[in-house]
Structures are given as C-alpha cells and as structure tokens.
C-alpha cells in the first residue's frame, strides 16, 4: 500500500510506502547510502546517548534526528502516533521521582507551592528522559527510512549468518502480521455490533484477554504454513545448499558500498568510539558539565 498525494498537475503520485512496521518514503536521499551505512547511523544515534548524561547533547541529538527525518522526506505527521508514548514516559518518570525521590541527605529540597521536590533526582530524571528520547527518535528515524529488506541486507552485509538474519526477518514479519490479525479481529467484532466504548474497564480487560485465543491459533497456523513453505522451497536450517558449498546471496549484489558510504561509516564509528572514550575515560559527558545543570545549581545556591 502506498500513501498518495495530489500532484500539481492533478496526477496522484505515491509518496510513502507501507512496511510491516510503518511507512517509509518512496524516494529519500537516505537511499543513496548502503543499508550498512544507515544501520551504523542508527547505532550511532540510538546507542551513543548511553554514553551521554548531558541533556543538552541528547536534546541536540533529537533535533538532529528530526532534521534528518525532514531531509529524508519521512512523513513527520506520522510522528503523532508516538506522542502518547513520549508523554506517558514523561508522566511516569517524573511522577515516580516526585513521589519517591529517594532518601539521600545530600539532596537539595526545592519548594514549588505546597509541594517539595528534590533537585538532584529531578534533574537526573530530566537528563535520563532526554537520553531516552534521543534513543527513541533514533529508532523512529531508522524505521521511517529503512524497509525490512534494508535491515536484512545490512545484517547480512555485516556477515551475520543467513539463518540469524532470517529469524530477524521473520520476527519483523510476525510483528506486522500480529498487528494486522489483531486489527482484523477487532473489525470483525465491530462489524457484529460490539461497542467497546460502552464496556466497563473490567470487561475491556476481559476482551483483550479473549483476543489472545484467536491470535494464538492464527499464529500457530501461520507457523505451520511457513514451515511447510520452507520445506517446499528446499530450505533447511543447517544452511546446507543443494549445489556448491556456499549459499549465494542475490539481494546483496543489488547494493554497493561507495566511497561516501565508507567515509560515513568510518566517521560514525570513530565518533562512536570517541564518545565512549570521552565518557568512560574522561567523564566528558557527565551531568556536572551540563550548562543547564550548572545554571540551575547556581540559581538554587547548590554547591
């Protein structure tokens, strides 16, 4: 399925292509780069925040990711589906730290109206939240600009055994099909007059439990079908092939690592290593270096 848009001449041109996990643009500057380069970019943006405590840098990574989404022609409107997650994470994290800040005498109390909060755990939570957001946006960027095939090509190019990349592919496929089956079952219920909004919360919970029965039976049937399909196509999990010693990988021949790819991969790997060394060797990204933290501490008179 493709999302279409009215072109100036009146013709309808497809802009987005549906994948099992979302939508990707049909044309994107990202596609000039090898899937390995895109995977390395994902690892960089998605994993580097682990080394970085400073919220400013993680916030900058979020902004960078949004710019990359724009550049990559991803549909930013679809980011709305992540809003509930972004808000819910914030609510849970800050609620926990407001209600149960811990019991450390070095914490600095701050009065906000009738409530007392403690500066250190709140700021740490603030920093952790932006770290999570940077990782989340990195993931969104990857899945908004890479098809399932690109992911598998990247993994196989990195010499992941075929069977392992195949299992990854199946998992992605299973997730997409599970959601499709779930939506089919819900539509079937609605078609037979079920009004979920009229149900009590307890009944809604029961309803979700009831979904598991058809979903599991469908999943088992599909597993059976796939197993038969693999048999019929001569696949065996030993990786043994009919002729010759090595399994040919036709799809990999469609992609070539260019000089630009190598340059980006090298740059990103070096930046990744530099970030790890800067944090674990010199503590370069710790909270004590955060300008916001420094300003707030000065404002609150914390030494």
């Amino acid at each position: 399925m493709a999302i279409t848009a009215e072109a100036p001449g009146g013709a309808r041109a497809a802009k987005m292509r549906k994948t099992l996990l979302g939508y990707v643009p049909i044309e994107s500057p990202f596609y000039r780069y090898h899937p390995v380069t895109r995977l390395v970019l994902f690892v960089f943006i998605g994993v580097v925040p682990i080394f970085i405590d400073m919220p400013e840098i993680n916030f900058a990574l979020v902004v960078l990711t949004i710019l990359l989404l724009l550049w990559g022609k991803a549909d930013l409107k679809r980011l709305r589906i992540y809003m509930p997650m972004i808000v819910t994470i914030a609510i849970f994290m800050f609620l926990v730290v407001f209600l149960a800040p811990g019991n450390d005498p070095t914490y600095t109390p701050v009065r906000i109206g009738p409530a007392t909060i403690y500066y250190q755990p709140v700021f740490f939570t603030f920093a952790s939240y932006w770290r999570l957001m940077a990782m989340l946006f990195g993931t969104i960027l990857y899945f908004s600009t890479n098809r399932e095939r690109d992911m598998l090509v990247a993994l196989r190019s990195l010499k992941l055994p075929f069977i392992a990349s195949y299992v990854v592919g199946f998992s992605i496929r299973a997730a997409g099909m599970f959601m499709e089956d779930f939506s089919t079952i819900r539509e079937a219920e609605q078609a037979r007059g079920l009004d979920k909004s009229a149900l009590k919360l307890a009944d809604q919970v029961k309803l979700y439990v009831m979904y598991l029965v058809p979903l599991f039976s469908i999943a088992l049937r599909r597993a059976d079908e796939i197993s038969h399909a693999l048999f019929a196509r001569g696949y065996n999990f030993t990786g043994k092939v009919g002729r010759g010693d090595k399994r040919s990988d036709y799809i990999l021949t469609k992609y070539t690592m260019t000089k630009a790819d190598w340059a980006w991969v090298t740059g990103l790997v070096l930046a990744f290593v530099a970030a790890a060394v800067a944090e674990y060797g010199y503590g370069g990204f710790r909270l004590v270096h955060s300008p916001i933290n420094i300003l707030l501490r000065q404002a609150l008179g914390i030494g």
Partner: protein, 294 residues
C-alpha cells in the same frame, strides 16, 4: 516417455483422526503431461498432492503406507531439498508460502537454497518474471500486491526453481476472474512448452479440462476416475454426484443427449468450440426430423 510419478497402494491417516484420508491410491503420471485433479472438498485432493511433494510424511505426523516415487526414487528416502528440486508446489493460499520481505527476495529464496550461482539465479529470475508478468512488482512487499499478483508471484517462485514437476493446489481459488484468466494463461504457456509434468487441483473444470491430458476425480480418499477429458464425462451423473461441476457445454450436450436430440454415441464435449459443433449437430438432426428445438 517414462513415469514421472508412481504411487502404489498409498494410504495416509493424519494423526488424531479416525479415518484414512487416502485409501489404496494407485497412480502413474507420465512425464511432461498435464494432470487435472478435481473433486469436492475434503475428498483427499490436497492430501494426495502433499504426498507427492513430500510434505507428507516429512512435515506431518500420521500413518503412512504404500509408496510415492518421483522419477523412481521413493519420496520417503529423499531430503526436503532433493524433493524441492524435483517438485515445485504452489499453495492454495499464496500468502501461506511467503517467507521474504520483497517479491524479488521471495523469488530468489528457493534458488539460493538449491545452491545456484548468482548468474544462474539472475537468469532463472528473469525467465520466471517474464513468464508470469510480474516485472513491475519486484521491489514491492508480497503483502502489498493484489490476490492475483500474489498467486502469479507464488507460481513464479516455483517456476524459478525449474523443477520438472509442478503442482498447483487450487491456484485460482482466492482471486478475481481476470486474475484467474492470467493463471490459466500461464498454465497454457507451461503446457505448450511441454517440458514439465504439471498437476493442478482445481474446481474450475471448465478451464482445466481443455488444458489437461488426464482428469482425475477424488472421492472419499480414493481415485474414483482417471480419464482423458474427452472420456471423463462419459458417466456425467457420477461425476456430478462426486461434487465435480462439469463445464456448461458438457451439461448442455448431456441434456441434448438425454432428450434424444443428440446421438448417444456422441462424445460429450468439454471445450466451447466443440460445444458449438455439438449444438450444430443437434440442430441439423432436429431439422431433418422437423422437430422444434425448445
């Protein structure tokens, strides 16, 4: 021409069932011929082809008696890979056989399993794509194409592997009339090439009969009749009673015969063109006797 498939006294009972799904099946399919299998649901058609392509007993549990031989070798003694290079199976539900993320990957998957080199893979891929006319779908996800396209893709996957025996289980059951026509066009091309043994399970006898060298009727887990299409409908009530719906032209000619407007020795037609001749013969016969045709 030798036998591509020889089935001797085959019996099969699925695990946890009380009755045998196949009972005393004996069959010989000549190399490079087209066999159409017809019959009502639950009569053993799919079970029979699963036995030929080795899914039974390799992937199912149950009681297996007798033998199925592919080019003289028992299926029981062949590995899955070995069978796949000899027998290609197109499932009734094309989605059931998808294992990859794009149509192109799906097509080359079997070729990679058989160990072809990249040049050969490209050559086989191009040929299968050309025969099934799916060149514009290669980059798409197998889930984002129409039912007819899915079925053509499923056929292309099997064709690409170039097995000498191709089996299709109700290949048109889930698609629209135009899609069905596409599938029968492909079957016609394969039949005309004459270099493959083709077995098709199909309810649409109207389109199957003109392609088939032999038609086989399954009933109650047994082969109830095997005959060339020209003789298959000799005992039409029996065929209809077994749940196989004959071509309209055959029913019409049978009605003419029953009402005495067509000589009894006339063979029931199964092609539209032959039906026209039969109608003309009946009309001429009526003119001679001045009997009005209602």
């Amino acid at each position: 021409m030798g036998a591509a498939i020889v089935i001797k006294n085959l019996e099969w009972k699925y695990e946890h069932t009380t009755q045998f799904a196949l009972r005393g099946v004996n069959l010989e399919v000549e190399e490079n011929t087209f066999l159409g299998i017809v019959g009502a649901n639950e009569q053993g058609k799919t079970t029979l082809i699963n036995c030929i392509c080795g899914l039974i007993p390799h992937s199912f549990n149950g009681v297996y008696r007798g033998s199925v031989e592919i080019y003289g070798k028992p299926v029981l003694k062949m590995s899955g890979l070995e069978i796949a290079t000899q027998v290609g199976l197109v499932f009734a539900d094309p989605e059931a056989q998808f294992t990859a993320m794009t149509v192109e990957e799906e097509l080359v998957f079997g070729l990679e399993n058989t160990g072809y080199d990249l040049g050969k893979i490209k050559e086989r891929l191009d040929w299968a794509v050309d025969v099934t006319m799916i060149g514009d779908l290669l980059d798409k996800s197998p889930y984002d194409i129409s039912g007819g396209q899915k079925q053509r893709m499923a056929i292309a996957c099997v064709l690409a592997m170039n097995p000498p025996i191709i089996i299709m289980d109700e290949p048109t059951s889930m698609i629209d009339p135009l899609g069905k026509q596409f599938i029968f066009d492909i079957l016609r091309k394969l039949k005309d090439a004459g270099d493959r043994t083709i077995i098709v399970v199909e309810h649409n006898i109207e389109q199957l009969a003109p392609l088939a060298d032999q038609l086989l009727l399954m009933q109650g887990g047994q082969i109830s009749k095997v005959a060339p299409p020209a003789r298959f409908f000799d005992d039409l009530p029996m065929v209809v009673g077994s749940g196989a719906y004959p071509p309209e032209v055959t029913s019409f000619a049978y009605w003419l015969k029953q009402s005495g407007r067509l000589p009894q020795e006339h063979i029931l037609p199964y092609r539209f063109e032959d039906g026209v001749d039969v109608a003309r013969a009946a009309f001429n016969s009526a003119r001679k006797t001045d009997e009005p045709i209602p």
